[in-house]
Symmetry: C2
Subunit: 167 residues, 2 copies
Amino acid sequence: MNYDEAKIKFVSTWGSLGTLWGINKAMAQIQALLFISTKPLSMEDIMADLKISRGNTSMNLRQLMDWGIVTKEIIPGERKEYFTTEKDVQELARTIAKERSRREIQPVIKVLKEVSSLKDDGTEKTKELIKQTKALHDITENADMMINKLVNQQQNWITKSLLKLIK
Amino acid sequence: MNYDEAKIKFVSTWGSLGTLWGINKAMAQIQALLFISTKPLSMEDIMADLKISRGNTSMNLRQLMDWGIVTKEIIPGERKEYFTTEKDVQELARTIAKERSRREIQPVIKVLKEVSSLKDDGTEKTKELIKQTKALHDITENADMMINKLVNQQQNWITKSLLKLIK
DNA sequence: TTTAACTTTCAATAATTTTTGAAAGTTTAA
DNA sequence: TTAAACTTTCAAAAATTATTGAAAGTTAAA
């Protein structure tokens, strides 16, 4: 496997993983490309490399910026805009976890809380709905908290000690 | 909010969350429906409740069974097949985590390992590709292990002590 | 057996999501 | 200013994914 093959394999695999987890392929691939690039890339660079249109590139770069994992880089003397992604994998994970929590998990937790606060009318089906959504609420909130906490630590020491603890 | 409103809210919210995370809406909704049902449901029941076709119901039930979170229930004297989902939220989380890991994360870890084993030809871009995919490999493998470990414990004591530890 | 009750399959259709590309918008150098 | 270089927007098209429904398949009671 040479460099180009490896690069293509990585970028396309990352794109497929994205798709599987509800993230648009182009968005995942652009991020992957920036992640292994040694220098900031322009829109032209990205379009050429991934063979996608200008519009697609522009829209997905914007989304990545909204997520806080890509930033515009101004290169002095250059007219074009250049882009970079967070290079520290730990920080990247932190940001993604935080954003998915805020956008997707928190609203669900809110609904689960509402539903599980339904007044108990004494029927079995109501009792079951309350019980099960409460259980879901608790585990979701718990998992969300834990992921955010974990991802906020410096893995170095914490990972090792945690892994030891729960092994 | 009465029972029916609460039920609809829960089932449709769960469906939307599924979609956001790459799970087909009908599949998520069927699981949600079974999760709050006080008794096993037949295909007819599910079709009527979610207003979806027989084919759709059949295919998604099969997928849920493949995932190991729904099981066929044979009711003596009844010709129809009935279905139930795992009711214990802890066990449910364990199964889902295990399956997503096996189907989606492990293959990606394998590719990351391959790509990061690319022979260093001394160029900067190759060094960067190796470095970054190695970092991604390590964090992905680590996160995958941790989630599986965590989800395999009895939350009771472990959650509390872990939360205390990392707070 | 036969037949009725039920489930699965799958080609066709519908719905949704992604992508394109060209026009409109913006910025900066001259 | 003007105009060239560049970016954004968005309606239309393409691609993908989900859903339907009827025919084929299966099972079990009579």
